[in-house]
Amino acid sequence: MSSLYRKWRSQSFLDLYGQEHVVRTLRNAVAQHKVAHAYLFTGPRGTGKTSTARILAKAVNCLNPHEGNPCNACEMCLAANEGRALDVIEIDAASNTSVDNVRDLRERVAYAAGEGRYKVYIVDEVHRLSGAAFDAFLKTLEEPPEHVIFVFASTEPHKVPATIISRCQRFDFRRIGPEDALRRLREVAESEGIAVDDDALMLLVQGANGSLRDALGLLDQALAYSDGGISAAEIRQALGLTDPMLVARLTDHLLDGEVGRGLEDAATFIASGADPGQLVRQLVDYWRYLLLRASGVQQASWVDPALADSAGRHVSRLSTAQIVRVLAALTGQDFSAKYNLPPELPFEVGYVEAALGLQERRPAAPSVQPAPPAPERRTAPPSTPAAAQPSASVERAQPKTEPAAPADTGPTVPAPIPAENGNLSDLDAAWAAIVTRMRSRSKSLEAILKSGYILGADNGEMKVGFLYPFHSEQLNKTSARKALEEVIVETLGVSYRVKSLVATKEEIEAARGSGTVAEDDGFVEEAAESLRKLHIEKLGNGHS
C-alpha cells in the first residue's frame, strides 16, 4: 500500500530532477571531499529537499561513490535506503521543538560516527524550532566535530533566524519545471508499466504546480480509477477536471452575453458531481492564457490542446482590458468558510460579474475580425505609406511595452493612435498614451504632462497648452522638450516639434472643441462621492 511518491523517492543525484544547480554543487563537494558542515535546504513542498538530504547523507558515507554520487549498492547505501543506518539521524523539528531536544542532540553529537565517516543529522521542518532551541544550536552549528554534518530542510526559510542561516550553506530548491516533471512522470509510468501519453501526463503536471510529490500523487489517484492504461479523458475524470469543452462553451456564452445558458451548463455539470472549485480554477487558467495571448506573449503558458482552437477565436473578440476585468471577477469570489453556502456560488457570482464587466464597454470591443488598425475612418484618403508604416510598428511593439494595462482602470488608454496625414484623430487618447510612456523616463515630467492638453497637432508641430506658467516653463527647457519629442515618436510613430504655451481654460476648450477641462484630476469629485457614501452609511446607523 505504498504511494508512488514514496516508492519513487529519488535515491541518487541522477534521478533528482529540476535542481541541477543544487546537484552539481553537492556532487562536486562530495567528490572533492569538501563537504560543508551545515546545509540549509529551502524551497516549496515536493521539490526534493528531504530526498536530497538523504542522498547527500548516503553519498558522504558511500564506500564506492561515483563522482560524488552514492552507489546504492554498498553496505552503507543499502542500510541507509532501508532506514537502518546508524549514522543518518532524521529529526522532525516540528514535533521536537524545544530547547531540551536540542540539548539532547548536542550531547550526542560529540560521539564518533558508528560505521561510516560522517554522522549526518537531517533536521526537517527546521523553522519550527523554538527561539531558545535555535540559540542552543548556534555553537554546535558553527564549530561541530569533524565527523558531523547537519542538513536542515524547511519550506519557510524566513522563519529561520539569520544567525542560523549565516552558519549554513544555503540551497534554494526551485519548483520543478514542466519538462522535468514530465520526464520524471514518464519514467515512473514506464517502470510501473502504465500506458499513458504525454498529453495525459501534462494534465498531471499542470495540476501538480511544480511539486513532484503532488504530480506522483495525482498519477496514483488517476491509477486508482483505471486498469493499466490511462487516457487524458480518464485523468480528467479521476482528478475531477472539467471537460475543456465546457470551459470553451462557458466562455462563448460569456462573450455572447448569455449568462443564463452559462449558468445552466455549469449547473448541469456540477449536478453530475463535479467540483465547482476546479471549474473556476480551469476557467481562470484559460482566461489567463487568453490574457497572455492578447498581450502578445508567445509560448508563455500551457493550454489544454483541446482548447487551442477556441483560444484563437476568443482572443480575437476580446481586448486586454476586458480579459483583465473577467479575471478580476472570476478570482475575486472567495466566500468565507464560516458560511454554509452552495459551493458553486463563487463560480456563479464571478460569472455574472464577468458578464457585467464585459457589457460595460461592449461597443468598444473589437468584435469585428481584427483588420489593420482602423477604427472608423471618415472619408479616409488612402493613408500614406509614411504614416501607415510607423503606426503598424507601434502596433506590434505595443503589447511588450504596455503589458496588460487595463484601459479603464489604469490612468490612460495606451491604444496606438494612428496618425492620419500628420493629424491626430483622437488628441486625448494620444496624449494619455504619451503621458503613460513618459513614466518610465521621468516621473516628474510625467506629472507635469498630466496637467497639459494638446491644443493642436499639424504641420509637424504639436502645441501643448498648460493652465499655469510653471508647467509651461518646465517644458520649455531643452532637455524636457527633447525627451517629450522622443516619447512622441515612440508612441505615435510620427515626429513632432513641441511648442509649450500657457493658455486659459476657454482657449483650451475652444481648441479641443469640448468642455472637459478638469481643474483637478477628478480627485475632488471622487472624495465627494466617498464622503456621500460614508454619510449614507452613517445615517443608516443613526436610524436603526
Binding site: 500500500m1 505504498s2 504511494s3 514514496r6 516549496p44 513542498r45 515536493g46 522532525d92 516540528a94 514535533s95 521543538t97 526537517d124 521542518e125 519550527r128 519550506t155 511539486s211 510529490r213 503532488d214 500523487g217 496514483d220 489517484q221 491509477l223 486508482a224 480509477y225 475531477g240 449568462v259 443564463g260 449558468l263 445552466e264 449547473a267 456540477i270 449536478a271 458531481g273 463535479a274 467540483d275 472549485g277 476546479q278 469570489q333 466566500f335 468565507s336 468558510a337 464560516k338 458560511y339 454554509n340 453556502l341 452552495p342 459551493p343 456560488l345 456563479e348 457570482v349 455574472v352 460579474e353 458578464a355 457585467l356 449614507i536 452609511e537 443608516g540 446607523n541 436610524h543 436603526s544
Partner: protein, 323 residues
C-alpha cells in the same frame, strides 16, 4: 456494503483502491459541512479492519466497535469542546500512539476531523507522520476545502472531494427512514445537500419549519424599501448575535441566488414551487446588474463580519447599500 448516502463516485473509488490494494496511507476528504465526510471516513475505517463479507459488513466486531466509537485502533481527533483549533499537543499524542502497531485490527486508522482547525505548528508536526507513517497506519483528514490547509499537508494526501448530496438521493434516504413522501422531499430540499442536517431535521421537525418560515419571510426582502428591509430584519434576527446574523446572511444569499436563477429562466435550487412563485413575483423587476449588486453587498457583509465588524452594522450596511 457501505452505509453511505450519496457520494457514489468517492465510494467506488475507495472500494476500488481497497480491492487493488492501492489505498494511499493518507487521505483528505473535502466537502461542505454536513455532507458526511467524517461518516465516510469511519466507514472506510470499518472497511479496512472488517472481518466479514463485503467489507464494511457492518456486523462484525470491528465494524460494530467502530460504529460505537470503541475500537482500539480507530480514533477521531477533533477540536476539543469550546476550542477553536486542534493543537500541537493533540498531534503529538496522535503521533506517539500512531507509531505503535494495531492492537486488534489489521490497521490503525486515525481520523482528523475538521483539519482546517490545525494550528500551523500542529500541521507541521503532522507532516512526518503524514508522509511516512508506520506501515499499518492510515490517516484520514477531513476539511471543508483543501485550500484551507497548508499546501505541505495537502501535498502528502490523496484528496477525495465530496459534493453536496443530490436532493433526490437524500429524499430517497429519508423515505427509507420512514418519512412520508412530501416531507421527505421538503426536508431534502431544505437540507441543501447536507445529509446530516436532513437526518437531524427528520427527528426534530421544528428545525425544518423554522428554516422554511424564515425563507418565506425573507423572500420579501428585496421588494421592500430600505426602512421595510431594516424592520423585517429587526423582527427576524437578533442582530447582536454574530452566528444568527451569519445564518440570516446565508439564507439571504441563497434566496438571492435563487432569484438570479429564476430571472434567467432556470429552476431555483432552494425554494419549492410555491415559494419560487412568491420569489418570482417579488423579484421580477430586477435586472441582472441589480441582482449581482445585492449578492455583492451580502458578500461584503459576510467579509466584514469575519473581520470583526459589528454584525448589526454589517448587515444593515448591506441592506442599505443594495438599494
Amino acid at each position: 456494503m457501505w452505509n453511505v448516502i450519496g457520494h457514489k463516485r468517492a465510494v467506488s473509488a475507495l472500494q476500488r483502491a481497497l480491492e487493488t490494494n492501492r489505498l494511499p496511507h493518507a487521505l483528505l476528504f473535502t466537502g461542505p459541512e454536513g455532507v458526511g465526510k467524517t461518516h465516510l471516513a469511519l466507514e472506510l475505517a470499518k472497511a479496512l479492519n472488517c472481518a466479514g463479507e463485503d467489507p464494511p459488513c457492518g456486523s462484525c466486531i470491528h465494524c460494530h466497535q467502530t460504529e460505537i466509537d470503541s475500537h482500539p485502533d480507530v480514533s477521531v481527533v477533533e477540536r476539543a469542546d469550546g476550542k477553536d483549533s486542534i493543537v500541537i499537543g493533540q498531534v503529538r499524542e496522535l503521533r506517539d500512539a500512531a507509531s505503535l502497531r494495531p492492537f486488534q485490527g489489521r490497521r490503525k486508522v486515525y481520523i482528523i476531523a475538521g483539519a482546517e482547525g490545525l494550528t500551523d505548528q500542529a500541521a507541521d508536526a503532522l507532516l512526518k507522520t503524514l508522509e511516512e507513517p508506520q506501515p499499518q497506519l492510515t490517516m484520514i483528514l477531513t476539511a471543508s476545502e483543501a485550500e484551507g490547509l497548508p499546501a505541505t499537508v495537502v501535498s502528502r494526501c490523496r484528496v477525495i472531494p465530496l459534493q453536496q448530496v443530490e436532493t433526490e438521493v437524500i429524499a430517497a434516504a429519508l423515505r427509507a427512514a420512514g418519512q412520508d413522501e412530501a416531507s421527505s422531499a421538503r426536508l431534502a430540499r431544505l437540507s441543501r445537500g447536507r445529509v446530516g442536517w436532513a437526518l437531524r431535521a427528520a427527528r426534530q421537525p421544528k428545525l425544518a419549519t423554522q428554516q422554511q418560515e424564515l425563507a418565506v419571510r425573507l423572500a420579501d426582502l428585496w421588494s421592500l424599501d430600505v426602512d421595510g428591509r431594516l424592520l423585517l430584519i429587526e423582527s427576524l434576527t437578533d442582530k447582536k448575535d454574530r452566528a444568527a446574523v451569519r445564518r440570516s446572511l446565508e439564507l439571504m444569499m441563497i434566496l438571492t441566488r435563487d432569484l438570479l436563477f429564476i430571472t434567467q429562466g432556470l429552476p431555483p435550487w432552494f425554494m419549492g414551487t410555491d415559494e419560487a412563485d412568491l420569489l418570482r413575483s417579488r423579484g421580477a423587476g430586477l435586472s441582472l446588474r441589480e441582482i449581482h449588486g445585492r449578492m455583492a453587498a451580502l458578500k461584503a457583509a459576510m467579509e466584514r463580519i469575519d473581520q470583526n465588524v459589528d454584525p448589526r452594522l454589517s448587515l444593515e450596511a448591506a441592506l442599505i447599500s443594495a438599494a
